[in-house]
């Protein structure tokens, strides 16, 4: 049974609209992450969290906000979506030293 799930799996949004991507994990991991993956790039870190109530900026946070209301849930919020945010978004949870992350199936977002 999938331990990291994402919803929606596909989303089409309009420029200037608000988009919320949701992630749920049953691994009981403290740390969760949001990445985007574009052709020709590896996954790039947008925001991450050390636990409920915490959010931290990753490498490319501009235009995105995050929310971690509970251990299990981590959301990525695009307040004013732009076409440059068209991408595939992956959520992950992780633990351990050295570190291992477990990924969700991805959300394909298209901003028109």
């Amino acid at each position: 049974e999938a331990a990291v799930t994402q919803s929606p799996r596909n989303k089409v949004a309009v420029t200037g609209g608000k988009v919320t991507l949701s992630c749920n994990q049953t691994n009981n991991h403290n740390n969760m992450y949001w990445y985007r993956q574009d052709t020709g790039h590896g996954l790039r870190l947008i925001h991450y969290s050390y636990g409920a109530g915490s959010t931290e900026k990753g490498d490319i946070p501009d235009g995105y906000k995050a929310s971690r209301p509970s251990q299990e849930n981590f959301s990525l919020i695009l307040e004013l979506a732009t076409p440059s945010q068209t991408s595939v978004y992956f959520c992950a949870s992780g633990e351990g030293q050295p570190y291992e992350q477990y990924f969700g199936p991805g959300t394909r977002l298209t901003v028109l």
Partner: protein, 108 residues
């Protein structure tokens, strides 16, 4: 910052053949993960290594922290092995640094 380079960037294999993908990094890392992004866009976790080698079916991975590289060997390639393969490395912290991927196409 940390740099992770994957080679080749693209690879074409005939069914039944094999090859090796390589992941080089510029600083000492403590662990590596290998993933495949399949045709549906899902990211499949293939291997996690903190040292040595691991094998799973037709796939085998090695990690050499001192020499700063990891490899992923594919043997007897099948059509369903097609996809983009990513390596990602981690050091002391909680951050993974990804390579840009190797796009593999297996044809009949």
């Amino acid at each position: 910052g940390d740099q992770v380079e994957q080679s080749p960037s693209a690879l074409s294999l005939h069914e039944g053949t094999g090859s090796a993908l390589r992941c080089n990094f510029t600083t000492t890392m403590r662990a590596v993960q290998w993933f495949r992004k399949n045709s549906r866009g899902s990211l499949i976790n293939l291997f996690y290594l903190a040292s040595g080698t691991k094998e799973n079916g037709r796939l085998k991975s090695a990690f050499d922290s001192k020499e700063r590289y990891s490899t992923l060997h594919i043997r007897d390639a099948q059509l369903e092995d097609s996809g983009t393969y990513f390596c990602a490395v981690s050091n002391m912290g909680y951050k993974l640094t990804f390579g840009t991927g190797t796009s593999l196409l297996v044809d009949p």
